[in-house]
């Protein structure tokens, strides 16, 4: 087929044309390089070659809710070596000058050679300013040794926010393998906190500059007037939901303790404050981090690098009782007319269960049960509600799953279910007695302070649950445009009437005559909360307190946890009072009055007891 046109003159002509065109294109380009532009390519000084130097972009800065800067960059100085140009004989002199061991430099050079012997590899970063000029002066005596600046993190402001911000550090070998081909040994990456979770947004894009270098490794100037250079692109800035003042106060409240505080904005789920104690100084990592400094932090038994706010899953104690209360009311298991006569203890399954401190609360209903934190009432309620409903409502409030906060490390906690107990204890190897512990937030159930704050926020919002998050806006520094970040939200299917009862109980915890959280009471601000004291097999009980305020249109919801410290009402409630008072006053938030229905509550007659608020 196509016989007519096979090998025709026209086609042979076109074939020859293509050959000529291809060869002519090559010849033209060669002529341009070898004849027209030969000067650029170094005909005059035949031993000139090019070297590529990486230009580090500025890492994005981080700002608080009010636009106050929390992290910025300062220039630091670094010395690098091009392995191909560097002579081994210079090693001792360079080591003396930089005040490091020769093995350190040798190790760096070996790493550099593994990429390419022609690329500079950093041998020492963050040189002290004092030795700067001495080094600069002597560097001219070396071959293949260069001097450059690189940005370094600086932490400013009142709050440390170590676990929020995280820190940056030289990339590790395992990260090099997993983080993609953008990274080269010696690069700085975000290790923890926002620095890690927003790494690709904060870091920007590296730039490159070409320098002409002569035979003895001296830089002769930019190559080809820098036409091939690629400028670095600076990283984007983060604008957080965090209030720096509140954060600083939370940090000072936990000073010297082990614990965590998380405060959320109930209007959007933004984290107003999040602290974990003990913390660390992120500036330790900003420049050159010695091995001994690193080991000291890693080996500290109090684990300062561990973010308790998102990672410490602990039994939350009685702060968990609102889950059971909601389940009972929403599924019509009981109403507030159902009461229990608390005599301070009860026998179940051949075991004696005590109310807190063996105190007898008398006849209490669901709301009063929250106010006085009556264990006996909630034991009995749990037996009526049952395991499955309890698990179902725990799940609705976000327990047993990650909140999805914009940090890389988060614990989901444990929300036990029938199948979970079957798995860990074996089928039929556990009894309903196990459930009694769960009813008061002890035993197998565990939650992080962040989950507790988010759950409190959901109660404050009558069931509207926002995904907790730290970053509010991302600002592209090149265009100046602000991008808002997207987070999920959902509504927990629990009626407003149920929340009214639960919230009423929480109001009474702080403001009722027998409430266990009276230490959080603030004149003029209706605070609602719940205390928790969870037995800890290692030492004293863990103290918990969750709270929100004001009662109507809440502006802050928080969770406080202090390990091995005692009663939640005594340890944590006063902290909550300070934080809520500070935050609401600072923002000039006027509380609307608490509804008559609650003030005129029939439980107010208990005033006649003149009882002091008892700590659970």
């Amino acid at each position: 087929m196509f016989e007519a046109d096979f090998g025709s003159r026209a086609r042979s002509f076109m074939m020859r044309g293509v050959i000529l065109l291809a060869l002519f294109a090559i010849a033209a380009k060669l002529g341009d390089m070898q004849l027209v532009n030969e000067v650029i390519y170094g005909k005059k000084s035949e031993d000139i070659t090019t070297r590529v130097f990486v230009q580090q972009p500025l890492r994005g800065e981080i700002f608080d809710l009010n636009g106050k800067v929390m992290v910025e960059n300062d220039p630091a100085y670094e010395v690098s070596v091009i392995p191909a140009d560097f002579k081994k004989s210079q090693l001792p002199a360079l080591a003396t000058l930089l005040n490091v061991d020769t093995t350190v430099i040798e190790k760096q050079i070996k790493i550099g050679e593994s990429i390419s012997p022609y690329f500079p590899v950093r041998v020492k970063r963050d040189i002290a300013p004092a030795t700067l000029y001495a080094i600069e002066e002597h560097l001219n005596d070396f071959r293949g040794v260069y001097f450059d600046t690189e940005p370094k993190r600086v932490y400013v402001g009142k709050a440390r926010a170590a676990h929020i911000l995280g820190f940056t550090k030289e990339i590790s070998e395992s990260q090099l393998e997993t983080m993609g081909d953008y990274y080269k040994p010696g690069d700085i990456v975000g290790y923890t906190g926002l620095e890690a979770s927003y790494e690709t947004i904060l870091r920007g894009q590296k730039g490159y500059k070409y320098l002409a270098v002569n035979a003895v490794g001296k830089v002769m100037g930019p190559f080809d007037d820098g036409k091939l250079d690629i400028p670095p692109q600076d990283g984007s800035d983060l604008y957080l939901c965090v209030d720096e003042g509140l954060q600083a106060m939370a940090e000072s409240l936990l000073a010297g303790k082990r614990g965590a505080i998380v405060a959320l904005d109930p209007d959007n789920g933004g984290v107003l404050a999040m602290t974990s104690a003990p913390d660390f100084n992120p500036a330790v990592f900003s420049g050159y981090t010695s091995d001994s400094q690193w080991k000291k932090l890693i080996n500290n038994p109090d684990k300062p690098l561990f973010n308790r706010a998102t990672m410490a899953a602990l039994p939350p104690g009685s702060t968990f009782k609102m889950v059971l209360a909601s389940a009972a009311l929403q599924d019509d298991v009981v109403n507030t007319d159902w009461t229990i006569d608390c005599k301070g203890s009860m026998l179940y399954g051949g075991r004696l269960f005590h109310c807190n401190n063996g105190e007898a609360h008398g006849v209490v209903n669901l709301v009063q049960g929250l106010e006085v934190s009556c264990n006996i009432f909630y034991y009995n309620l749990m037996l009526k509600v049952g395991f499955e409903k309890w698990t179902k409502f725990g799940r609705l409030f976000g327990f047993g799953q990650k909140t999805g906060i914009d940090l890389t490390n988060e614990s989901p906690g444990v929300l036990p279910s029938k199948s979970y107990f079957d798995k860990i204890f074996g089928k039929d190897k556990w009894t309903n007695g196990y459930l009694l512990s769960l009813a008061i937030g002890q035993g197998e159930v565990s939650a992080t302070p962040l989950q507790m704050a988010a759950y409190t926020m959901a109660i404050a919002n009558y069931g509207h649950y926002y995904q907790p998050h730290l970053v509010n806006y991302i600002k592209d520094v090149r265009t100046g445009r602000m991008y808002s970040t997207q987070y999920s939200e959902r509504t927990i299917p629990i009626s407003r009437e149920v929340f009214n009862k639960v919230r009423e109980g929480m109001y009474l915890v702080v403001n009722g005559p027998r409430g266990t959280g009276g230490a959080a009471r603030i004149p003029g601000i209706p605070v609602s909360g719940k205390t928790g004291t969870a037995q800890n097999p290692r030492g004293r009980a863990d103290a918990w307190f969750v709270a929100f305020a004001p009662f109507e249109h809440p502006k802050i919801a928080l969770a406080i946890m202090v390990e091995n410290s005692g009663y939640g009402g005594a340890i944590c409630a006063p902290m909550a009072r300070k934080l809520i008072e500070y935050y609401l006053n600072k923002n000039g938030i006027k509380s609307s009055p608490v509804p008559e229905s609650i003030l005129a509550s029939r439980y107010m007659h208990d005033f006649r007891h003149g009882a002091h608020p008892s700590y659970e």
Binding site: M1, A4, F6, G7, V18, I19, K29, Q34, L35, L228
Partner: protein, 406 residues
Amino acid sequence: MFDFFKESFDYKTFFLALMLGGIGLLAVNSATYNSGMHDFFYKDLLWQSIGIIVAFSIMFSSNRFVENSAYFFYAVTILLLMFVLVAGKKVASHTSWLGILGVGGQPSELAKVATILTLSKYLSDKGTERPQWQVVMISAGIVGLPMLLTMLQPDLGTTIVYTAIFFPILFWAGLPPIVVVALVAPLAIVIAEFTGTAVLIITVIAFGVLFFLLSRKKLFAVTLSFVAVSFGLFMEYFYKKILATHQQKRIQIFLNPNLDPQGAGYNALQARVAIGSGGLFGKGYLHGAQTQLRFVPARWTDFIFTVIGEEFGFVGAGVTLLVFGALFFRGIRIAELVKTKFASLSAIGITSVLLFHVFINIGMNINLAPIVGIPLPFISYGGSSILADWMMVGILLNFYAHRKEH
């Protein structure tokens, strides 16, 4: 014998190829002179010699020998390519598996030659009275199979060489211009998309115009244009929405190595500096500072042209180009001289594959083409590729010797 060399020996083709082999030996010698890898020169000499012997053996074969062994040769190389894929996984490098035979080799080099011959044989055989679209589809299958197996290795450079087999041979076979343009269009649109949206729009419009100029049936032209526009839109969507940023970046770096100064861009720049510094006459043999100081990576294989450019300058590079040009013209001439359709198509395939190698290899040395790692025929060091080059010369010599026979 004397009569043979008087009547049937194509001196021109042989001596042009011999000159290129000689240039290759000089360049390999210089590239490895100071590197402690000087045995590469002797290995190159050995391979060139083996290549010449192979070429002469093919030349002295009977008239229809090449044509009759085409399908068998194709089947063997396809099996070898499959074997490489399976065995290569076990041994982790596809050169060591043939170590049993005492030779390291890449079957993909031989597969190129086999594919040229097989496509030519298919198109010259009877049975191609089928509808045109069926012939094109079967041809695409013949080329596509080894192409796919090479892509899986993965060897991107050799994979795209197959396009230089498919299009020119079909064109020479007499495929209507509109069909050739329509076949080239998708490839061009993909490349245009990666280059930029503006280039994409211009390319799609240009193809639309070509379709209307080349087709007498307006409805057909409208249909083709519509398909081209849809494909362009799809590629735009695919590139911008489906590919991740790092994948886009990889394609951009492939098309413009300057974007990756710590990777391919560095090699490309060092090659340009070396060639540019050669000037008109070069720095003299073994005196190329850039190549002798080992600034240029892979300077005895993919970047061997830097040695020629730096040490022999524009004149030396120009002479090399002229020799290549003369060989390509000779290939076209043989395609016109021979009496069988098979020989004519094969000669065109051989010529275009060699031209493609030369253009891409030198192109990547001088920033005209992406860095894909295919050798410069006869000149780059490498046993399989030199052997394949001389095989193709041997086939041309055989065609010339039997040019008057049917």
